[in-house]
């Protein structure tokens, strides 16, 4: 099980790892002049080809040879490879000798960060941006600008980064680089000719892009003589090495065998190793101004090496830390429960281990009468939830039930007290004055033809139109304020199906609003099943009640007595279904002397019974919970058009 929590398959070979000749000799880590460095990231909408473009860069700069090459080299986690998406940012140091133009022949060191495109991982992108001076904004030349193109562009601009607009996938027959160059130029305020055109697949245009990166992005600036200051932009747990911390040096120099100090806590650590990723770890002697690399201190918990913290040298510490990052706030919550209750301690250990790698994951123990002991977990979004769940199941061999995702509510009671609700079953029972729910600013990009359909969907989800812009003659940007709760329930699926897959969505939390919300309970044989309680808008309560009750009726096997299923708001029943009592449960056939077969059948039934959860006197199979809790919204589908 130990290896189970080593998702990042970077190998850390040790002494035998000399700097490969391709990392040109004049530019050893720690000895590279800042003027020779360019730090940039690749940002884009999901699937527009960031990781594929990164592959070509790895090849062109010869840090990965043809033999080792594989598609999306930097997507190292199994789950990334299977889903074909990037979840974690990856930074790589590459040498580049300019091929054309004034500086032809000059050697440079490029630190490239490949970022995720999915909205759930925007946090990863913002951390990466803080380590760079420039961003390559990639746009699929067959799709044009999409919602995360905008979101990531704005993030980059907020970070004061220089942007190189690039159209990708120009090899595609359906590519319309001219058209989208126009769109893109309009968006960032440049000329269409300023948009570079590349194919991450064939490599066309990529050398020119690398030259332009050197030409357009400014080198890092910092005070080489000042006390060292480096920004932690990622922190990852590796089973063999402990915590591997990724830093970008701002001032001074961090040298091997020095003791480093975390400025937020004052904690001092031995520096066991320092180096760069290229794209495998390469041990070095130090890192200087503007350089990006990793360090290992032997700490076992990423929380001791927090993203956003500033690293300095203990013997000559800096006075002031660099500005940090805000911790990501969970957007959705869900209860995770082991199907086999005895696996609860395993689940706790597994969450602890994943947390080492994922600062955005939050969890607290909770108990459910229906599901037993588990954890209320906070996630950045549905994809994040799904990925964590899948990793828990796969890497730690756990069978889990997850409750329907919900957002956080703030409830004001008439007695003046206030409660924060992350689990609907903990909704206060006292007299409620006001309920607030989180809202997001949602941006939907859609072809002209589907504006009506998108508006209809958003209105049905209690959205308020905030603005509408034409990005080009046929592409529209719609801005809405929407309750977050409405987005996490099958919104994306609906959006995709109503726009034939052409619309894209981005959203960011903007605050809260007071809403007319009620808690709907589902009662099985008179007992509320906490796992099915939901907080919904008053007008949707009836619908929710009817849907869940009908679903459960189809999923719960008949019992020896009649079982009513009711949906209720407080004591008011709003929907009812009945599971009729089972009348026959006996195998009546002549098996002759084959008693073995009969016994095995009974043994199987006994096993089945063990997998039942008791809700009062009602036996509910795990499968029923799982099926009833699964929404039609499969977050896996967020790949959209694929």
């Amino acid at each position: 099980m130990e290896t189970a929590c080593a998702p990042i398959r970077i190998l850390f070979p040790t002494e035998r790892n000399a700097v490969p000749p391709t990392l040109d000799p004049g530019s050893h880590p720690g000895a590279t002049a800042p003027e020779r460095i360019r730090n940039f990231c690749i940002i884009a909408h999901i699937d527009h080809g960031k990781s594929t473009l990164a592959d070509r860069m790895l090849q062109l700069t010869e840090v990965v040879d043809a033999r080792q090459m594989r598609a999306q080299y930097l997507d190292r986690m199994d789950i990334e490879r299977e889903r074909g998406i990037t979840i974690k940012s990856q930074a790589v140091r590459m040498p580049w000798q300019v091929r054309e133009g004034e500086r032809a022949g000059e050697p440079f060191v490029l630190n490239m960060i490949d970022t995720p495109g999915h909205v759930d991982f925007t946090y990863e992108v913002s951390r990466s941006l803080a380590a760079c001076e420039g961003a390559v904004l990639l746009v699929d030349a067959a799709q044009g600008i999409e919602a995360q193109t905008l979101a990531n562009l704005y993030l980059a601009l907020e970070n004061d980064l220089h942007i190189i607009p690039v159209l990708n996938k120009i090899d595609l027959p359906a590519a319309q680089p001219e058209k989208y160059a126009e769109e893109l130029a309009h968006l960032i305020g440049c000329e269409p000719e300023d948009c570079l055109k590349v194919s991450g697949k064939t490599g066309e245009g990529v050398p020119h892009l690398l030259d332009e990166i050197v030409r357009q992005f400014s080198p890092p600036v910092g005070d080489a003589g000042a006390p060292a200051r480096a920004m932690i932009f990622d922190s990852v747990y590796d089973v063999y090495r402990g915590v591997v911390t990724y830093i970008r040096v701002i001032d001074g120099k961090i040298e091997a065998r020095e003791r480093i100090k975390m400025m937020s806590t004052g904690a001092v650590h031995e520096l066991l190793e320092i180096g760069v990723i290229s794209p495998e770890p390469v041990k070095g002697t130090g890192l200087g101004v503007g350089e990006v690399g990793y360090l290992i201190t032997g700490v076992k918990d990423v929380r001791q090496s927090r993203v956003g913290d500033t690293v300095t040298i203990n013997s000559r510490p800096a006075a002031e830390s660099l500005g940090g990052y805000k911790d990501p706030k969970p957007m959705v919550y869900s209860g995770l429960y082991p199907i086999d209750g005895s696996e609860y301690p395993l689940l706790r250990d597994a969450l602890d281990k994943l947390k080492l790698n994922d600062a955005a994951l939050n969890y607290e123990p909770e108990t459910s009468a229906a599901l037993g002991f588990g954890f209320r977990c906070g996630f950045l979004g549905l994809l994040h939830l799904e990925i964590i769940r899948e990793r828990l199941e796969r890497e730690f061999n756990l069978d889990l039930i997850s409750t329907a995702p919900n957002v956080v509510y703030r409830v004001e009671l008439e007695d003046g007290s206030e409660a924060t609700v992350t689990n609907p079953s903990e909704y206060p029972t006292g007299k409620i004055a006001k309920v607030y729910e989180p809202v997001v600013r949602a941006t939907v990009l859609t072809p002209n033809d589907y504006v009506g359909a998108v508006m209809e969907l958003c209105q049905g989800r209690r959205g308020q139109l905030k603005g509408m812009d034409y990005l080009s003659s046929d592409r529209v940007e719609l801005r809405y304020t929407l309750p977050l709760a409405e987005i996490i329930y099958d919104f994306f699926d609906q959006l995709k199906s109503r726009t034939k897959g052409y619309a894209s969505l981005d959203y960011e939390p903007t605050g809260e609003q007071e809403s007319d919300l009620v808690k709907v309970d589902i009662l099985l044989h008179g007992e509320a099943v906490d796992a099915f309680s939901a907080i919904v808008h008053k007008e949707k309560a009836y619908n929710y009640g009817v849907t869940i009750a009908a679903k459960l009726r189809g999923l719960i096997p008949r019992q020896q007595f009649e079982v009513p299923i009711q949906a209720a708001i407080g004591s008011r029943i709003i929907a009812r279904e009945t599971i009729r009592a089972i009348r026959k449960d006996v195998l009546a056939k002549c098996y002759g002397g084959d008693i073995t077969r009969k016994r095995k059948l009974i043994e199987k039934q006994k096993e089945g019974k063990k997998r039942m959860k008791m809700v009062g006197r009602v036996e509910v199979p795990q499968e029923a919970f799982i099926a009833a809790l699964s929404t039609s919204d499969a977050p896996a589908d967020t790949k959209g058009k694929k």
Partner: protein
């Protein structure tokens, strides 16, 4: 397609049990399987073969070879019951079946008053063959009637007319059989309540002293299962099956039968099938023939299924291909599973503390007879009989 054999451990070359294994302390039975049918009924997954699928030449000699081998490892004092089942045993000549009986008698000795049953298909017997069977030593005959409704027999793909089963039963009585059974299947698609009522009337009128009524089970791999999967026939409905069972109980009780096992009714104690009771009480028996199952002293084993494989096996060794030595847990499961279904019930002391508590709960829920429970027996009520698997499950999983 015959259903699969269980998977067990391999059988040692020296045989399924070592020589001298004590057998038959609480009675000993012999089962002989005749794996042949004229055609396969659409619902049937028994180990049986039509003439195109397997030849019958030398079959009885092969069974006798196995019997002689059996005698080298177990030596029960005597044989209390013999059951020749199928398939359709009566596809063999009465004299052939008689040879098997005679050899059992010579080998182990048939007890005085032994119960000797053969199964038979209604269309494969006539008054003279029945007299010959009786003369050969058979005391009991079990006929597969299934239904009195022609359209039901058609769905089941039975070859006989409804009347034939009743006549065969009457002829068997005339031939001097002590006990005659008719099998019924209920819940077949297309069977109406009045069809089953007519079947019950018919078995009562046939004057038999034993009736087995089975709910139609859709077994994987049968033509019936295929038809249902394709939607050609609807799946059986549990509520309908429950109604049919209650109808059977009502009609048979009114006619003077009483249940003694969930699917079996007898006119009096003497009419109960002793061979089946031996199975259900954990007794010892040797099963002869392809696919036959045996049990001796906590070891269960089973023979190779196909008749030609069986023929090869008995030529120079044991036909048994798998066996299991029951653990204490498995014995307990079987004990509860089998005895709870009997009218005599399960002695309460066979259950642990939690099981006994559960039994009390079930009596309260109307599934077990409270008076019998008070007297130390776990006995199903009528409603409990319909939910017997649930009762067994709950007794076994109570904690």
């Amino acid at each position: 397609m015959p259903g699969a054999l269980p998977s067990g451990e391999p059988v040692p070359a020296t045989g399924p049990v070592p020589p001298g294994t004590p057998a038959g302390e609480h009675g000993f039975g012999v089962y002989a399987h005749v794996p042949f049918c004229a055609s396969r009924c659409g619902y049937c997954d028994f180990n049986t073969y039509t003439p195109d699928e397997a030849g019958r030449d030398g079959y009885v000699d092969q069974v006798l070879a196995e019997l002689r081998r059996a005698a080298s490892v177990v030596t029960p004092r005597r044989v209390d019951t013999v059951f020749v089942g199928g398939g359709t045993p009566t596809l063999l000549a009465p004299s052939e079946l008689g040879r098997i009986l005679a050899e059992i008698d010579r080998t182990w000795g048939l007890a005085d008053g032994a119960e000797i049953t053969t199964e038979a298909n209604p269309e494969s017997v006539d008054p003279s063959s029945l007299r010959e069977l009786r003369a050969a030593g058979f005391t009991r005959i079990s006929l597969g009637m299934q239904s009195a409704a022609p359209h039901v027999l058609k769905v089941l793909e039975r070859r006989h007319t409804p009347g034939r089963a009743v006549s065969a039963a009457l002829e068997a009585r005339d031939a001097g059989f002590d006990h005659v059974n008719l099998d019924l299947i209920y819940g077949t698609p297309g069977e109406r309540p009045e069809d089953f009522a007519a079947s019950l009337d018919a078995v009562v009128a046939a004057g038999v002293d034993h009736v087995s009524a089975y709910a139609l089970i859709v077994e994987d791999g049968t033509r019936l299962a295929t038809a249902m999967r394709k939607g050609v026939l609807p799946y059986p409905d549990d509520d309908v099956a429950a109604d049919r069972y209650l109808a059977a109980e009502r009609a048979l009780t009114a006619a003077g039968f009483s249940w003694y096992e969930v699917s079996n009714w007898a006119r009096d104690d003497a009419a109960r099938c002793r061979h089946n009771l031996l199975y259900w009480a954990g007794g010892d028996w040797w099963g002869l023939g392809p696919g036959a199952h045996s049990h001796v002293g906590g070891v269960r084993w089973w023979n190779v299924r196909h008749p030609s494989a069986y023929a090869r096996a008995v030529a120079d060794g044991w036909p048994a291909v798998g066996r299991e030595t029951l653990t204490a847990d498995e014995r307990h499961t079987e004990d509860v599973m089998l005895r709870v279904r009997l009218r005599d019930g399960l002695p309460l002391e066979h259950l642990d503390e939690a099981g006994r508590k559960e039994a009390l709960r079930q009596a309260e829920a109307g599934l077990l007879d409270p008076a019998k429970l008070e007297a130390g027996r776990v006995v199903l009520t009528l409603r409990g009989r319909l939910l017997a698997d649930g009762v067994v499950r709950d007794l076994l999983t109570a904690t």
